[in-house]
C-alpha cells in the first residue's frame, strides 16, 4: 500500500514543532553555558565586594517593609483560619506548634521566595534588560570590564545570601503575628507560646528551611539575570524579560519546593 504523504497543514505543524524544539534545546544550551560561566566567574578574581554589598542592601533591606507585612499577615491569618478546626477537637493549645511547623518548614521560605521573585526578580530582569537594550552591557564589555562579573555574579550572590536571611525574618514576624492572635484569643504568654511552638521543631526543619531558601534565592537571581542579560532588544524585550523573570522563577520555586520536601521527608 502506498504511504500517505503529509498534507501542507501536517508539514507546517511539524515545522512549528521542530522550530520550538530547536528553540528549547538552544535555550537549555544557553542556560548551561550561563551557569557554567557564573561558577567560573564566581571563583576567579577580581571580586566585586562593594557591588555585592550594594546588591545585598537592594535585595535585603529594601524588601523588608513588604516582607514584614506579608510575613506578619500570613502568621496572623493562618492562625485565625486554623483555630476553628482545632477548636472542634478542643486542641487549640496545639496552635503554636502547628503554626511553627507550617511557618518554619514551608511558609517562611516559600512566601519570602514568591514575594522576592515578584519584587526583586522583576527588578533585576527589567534593569539588566534595559541595560542590554541601551547597550550599557556592551559598553562595559568594550571598556575591558567584565559585565557578567559585575552585573550577574553580584546579583545572584546577593539573592542567594539574602533570601535565607529574609526567610528567617519572615518566620520571625510570622510567628509574631500568630502570637498576637493567640495572645488575644487564649491569653497565652510569649514564653508559653514559644515553648509550645518550638516543642517539635528539629534541627532538620530549620536546616531544610534555610537550605530551601538558599536554593530559591539562587534560582531567583540566576533566572532573573539570565532573562535580563539575554533579553531581546527593544522596549518590548525589557517587559518580556521582567515578566519571564517572575513567571519562570515562581514556576521553578514550586518545583524545587516539591523536590526538597521529598528529600527532607526521606531524611526524616
Amino acid at each position: 500500500m502506498a504511504q500517505k504523504s503529509d498534507t501542507p497543514a501536517d508539514s507546517s505543524r511539524k515545522y512549528v514543532v521542530g522550530r520550538k524544539l530547536d528553540a528549547l534545546f538552544l535555550d537549555l544550551y544557553k542556560i548551561n553555558r550561563f551557569l557554567g560561566r557564573f561558577f567560573k566567574e564566581l571563583v576567579l578574581p577580581p571580586y566585586e565586594f562593594k557591588e555585592i554589598v550594594k546588591q545585598c542592601y537592594e535585595v535585603g533591606y529594601k524588601s523588608l517593609p513588604l516582607i514584614s507585612m506579608t510575613g506578619f499577615i500570613t502568621g496572623l491569618v493562618f492562625t485565625k483560619q486554623s483555630r476553628p478546626s482545632l477548636a472542634e477537637f478542643g486542641a487549640t493549645s496545639w496552635l503554636p506548634n502547628l503554626i511553627a511547623i507550617a511557618i518554619i518548614r514551608a511558609l517562611a521560605p516559600l512566601v519570602t521566595a514568591l514575594i522576592a521573585a515578584g519584587k526583586v526578580g522583576s527588578n533585576i530582569g527589567a534593569e539588566l534588560g534595559s541595560m542590554n537594550v541601551t547597550e550599557q552591557i556592551d559598553a562595559m564589555e568594550v571598556s575591558a570590564t567584565n559585565p557578567f562579573k559585575f552585573l550577574v555574579v553580584t546579583r545572584v550572590l546577593a539573592t542567594t545570601i539574602m533570601i535565607p536571611v529574609l526567610a528567617m525574618y519572615t518566620g520571625f514576624v510570622g510567628m509574631l503575628g500568630s502570637f498576637i492572635n493567640i495572645n488575644q484569643m487564649e491569653q497565652t504568654s510569649l514564653p508559653t507560646f514559644f515553648v509550645g511552638a518550638f516543642s517539635s521543631i528539629t534541627f532538620l526543619d530549620i536546616f531544610s528551611s534555610v537550605f530551601k531558601a538558599t536554593v530559591f534565592g539562587f534560582t531567583i537571581g540566576a533566572v532573573s539575570c539570565y532573562k535580563g542579560y539575554y533579553s531581546s532588544k527593544g522596549t518590548e524585550g525589557v517587559g518580556k524579560a521582567a515578566n519571564a523573570a517572575v513567571v519562570t522563577s515562581m514556576f521553578l520555586i514550586f518545583i524545587e519546593e516539591i523536590l526538597v520536601v521529598q528529600v527532607v521527608a526521606a531524611l526524616r
Binding site: T134, D138, V142, A144
Partner: protein
Amino acid sequence: MEKKASPINRENAVISIRDLKKSFGSLHVLRGVDLNLYQGENLVVLGRSGTGKSVLIKIISGLLHPDSGEVNVLGLSVGSLSDRELLQLRLKVGFSFQNSALYDSMTVRENLEFPLVRNYRNLTRKEIDLAVEDVLDGVGLSQAINQMPSELSGGQRKRIGIARTLILRPEIMLYDEPTAGLDPITCIDINNLINEVQEKYNTSAIIITHDLTCAKMTGDRIMMLLDGRFERQGTFEQVFDTDDERVKTFYNYNFTD
C-alpha cells in the same frame, strides 16, 4: 569645514580586515569587506542605515563574530584571542556608542571611573580624580562631573561617552554615528571634538556615519559601504565624483533632508 591634513603613517595599518562576511539569517549584511586603517588616520565609513556599518565596528571590537574573514587589530587576530587577550586589546580600542550608552544609575564621575578602577586596581584616589578631571576637561564638561546622565543633553551625553572611552587612553577610537540625533551646531562641536581627540591623544579612528558634514569635517579618508562591500574610497570629492546612482542618491538626500 574641510579637515586639515593629519600625520598618517601609511606603513602601519592598525586595523586590517580581509574578506569579512556577516549575515543575520538570510540577510547578508557584509559580503566581503576589505579595509585598512592606518596609524594616525581618521577613516569615515559612510553608508545608508542598515548597511552593516555598526556591525563592522562591533566585529572589530569583538562584540560580534564574523561568519568568515580575517580581522587584525594592532597586529592581533581578533577571532583567535582568548578572553583575557581580548580584554587587553579592548584597553587599546575605545568605542563610542550611538546612544552614548552611559550607565544611567551612575553619576558622570562614576561613569568615567568605572572602566579605570576596574582595569587599574592599584590607582590611588588622587590619580583617579586627576584622570577623570583631565578627560572631562578634554571634552569641555568639567562642570557636569556630579550630574546624572538623565540630566545631560544629547550632545553632552555624547561628549561624556567619548570621555569614558578616552580615560583608558586608547590607540584606536571607534565612533558609531557620533552626530546622530543632534542639532547642526552640536554636530559641528562633536566633529571638532573628534578632530581634537585625534590630535591630542594621537588616535586612529573609524567613524561610522551617514552624515556627510561629519564625514567631510572628520575624515582623512572616506569609504562608502554599498550592498555589503566598500565600493568607493578616497577623499570626500573622490568618493562623490561618480555617476553611480546609489552614491548620487545618497549625496542628494543628505543635503536636501
